[in-house]
Symmetry: C2
Subunit: 329 residues, 2 copies
């Protein structure tokens, strides 16, 4: 069997996780990492991985089946998505929810012209959580869906804290509020305020001589990021931060509560819950499964942009349809 | 917009739940119920529903878009599945796991000849649980998947208890063992015996003068059904049984525990959990969503047998692709 030949575009945390994840899928092989940096300056996590300048990719279209785009959603994917869609099957984890429709339309046009399959907004939210929101709503049309995130580290919020005057380093956890989850399960169909669903907990290393009260005040009142939440600020040493908060855990759950029956007398809940030691590893694992789907769809002659809900689950599995029917159904 | 015209074949608990469920989907309408019984003897749950003899269906191919097959897996579906596949799009909930591959092959041939889409083994297990087993395994290739059922009533086991000498009526609950679920979440990757995953709890109404100890002994030692489980037998009055155990609750969960990282140092769990007041209502709700998918796929020119993993999630939603990208992704 020919292996599916994967390229990684962008070599940050996510790119490194894709590198490791491919090793768990024996129908795939990693052709190389593509970066804007000088290839000679990059040391890959595993040995024997080729590193290329991103500009070399366009000359390697016959060597790579799917490019996994591992850049950020703010500026990398909007630029690299269209560029790579013009000559490769791609998978990206574009996660700016408000702009997904635009991103889709832009990529769709290019991918249809190039005859490639480009799967956008894969990962877990958007991604697996989107799929679960859709299934649950389709099955239980009369009900409410709730998404909770965490306990986990939010990179954007951690960065925001780090920009506060007097803060040397910081990590921010988003934590769903247990009472809110219980209220959903119980069938209260609550309308939550922002504050009622999640709280935010910050671990902060101060710069020498900084004003602890001022830092706490500046964080807690920061608009958009913290003002609408109950926020805890804990001051820790650099060593404590490194020792206890250097991982990248995350997770969350999608719950739908719905009713059926002659008078809506029957209640049902559907919950999809993930608990992750490493957010980038899990996101990479989802992207890799969708890389398999992109490859197979394109082999069938499909082209254009797709989101995760456009793709039948079986395309993600390395098992044959017969094996799936025998062992999974 | 033309509504999707649905027929119900078989009018037991599941058929009645499909009748009610269709009312929650305003892109659908119920054309009628088809039964082997004399139509005049059937009173439908809601008013104004036409009831036909099952033999009349073949003359109504131009009036019905999808037939939802609501008979049992033991003898109804094996007979009615092929019959209806020859002239209708169908959805069934065939749940004899060991024979799904055969059922698929038989229906696939007929449906390809007739140009119809026939979705088999929909519902929750097989069905939504199958989908979740597939996704979870594809995302986390190195790990183990566990399925737990309950707390819920097993019809087959309840029937088995009712056949015991001296038993007037009975209900049997399948209950997953909490310690087993916790062990999976913790990452022990346990290999469970049957007894370690589920227990069985029976509520029994005795016939007058029956031997209580003998009944308990006969149930607990019954091969296949109870001998391999820890089984509790509670004796109750007819009134207690009716009052406390006349519902049809069920549920369960699929959990996958998997590892990633350079040395498998990161653990992840994916859990899909349902908690249902009414097993037939929920099963019906899944079948109805797949009826929408069958209709749409057939409109696109697709034919043949499909299982739930062969169908992209978006086909289940009444929302347009644009709406899905804006509100669900």
């Amino acid at each position: 069997m020919n292996k599916i030949r994967i390229g990684i575009v962008g070599y940050g945390n996510l790119g490194k996780s894709v590198e490791l994840g491919i090793r768990q899928n024996n129908d795939m092989e990693l052709v190389g990492v593509f970066s804007r940096r000088d290839p000679s300056s990059i040391k890959t996590v595993t040995e024997g991985v080729s590193v290329y300048h991103i500009d070399d990719a366009k000359n390697m279209t016959d060597q790579i089946d799917v490019m996994v785009l591992c850049g950020g959603s703010l500026s990398d994917i909007p630029e690299q998505g269209p560029l790579f869609a013009s000559c490769f099957n791609t998978v990206d984890g574009y996660d700016t929810h408000a702009k997904i429709a635009d991103h889709f339309n832009k990529i769709d046009k290019i991918a249809k012209d190039s005859g490639k399959v480009c799967i956008i907004s894969s990962g877990w939210d958007p991604g697996m959580f989107s799929i679960n929101r859709l299934y649950a709503e389709a099955i239980l049309p009369e009900g409410n869906t709730y998404t909770f995130w965490g306990r986990g580290i939010s990179q954007g919020h951690s960065d925001a804290v780090r920009r506060v005057k007097g803060v040397k380093d910081a990590v921010q956890y988003t934590i769903p509020i247990d009472e809110a989850i219980e209220a959903v399960r119980k069938g209260d169909m609550p309308e939550f305020t922002t504050r009622e669903k999640h709280k935010r907990v910050c671990y902060v290393v101060m710069e020498e001589g900084a004003d602890r009260n001022q830092i706490e005040e500046d964080i807690k009142t920061m608009p958009n990021y913290f003002a609408d939440y109950d926020t805890e600020v804990h001051f820790v040493t650099e060593e404590e931060l490194r020792k206890n908060h250097s991982g990248m855990p995350h997770g969350g759950l999608v719950i739908r509560y719905g009713k059926t029956g002659i008078n809506n007398e029957h209640s049902h809940t559907i919950e999809y819950k993930i608990d992750l030691d490493s957010n980038p590893d899990f996101t990479a694992s989802v992207l890799i499964a969708y890389a398999r789907a992109a490859y197979r769809l394109n082999k069938e002659g499909v082209s254009g942009a797709k989101t995760v809900v456009d793709i039948a689950p079986a395309y993600l599995s390395s098992k044959s349809p017969e094996e799936i029917r025998k062992t999974i159904i």
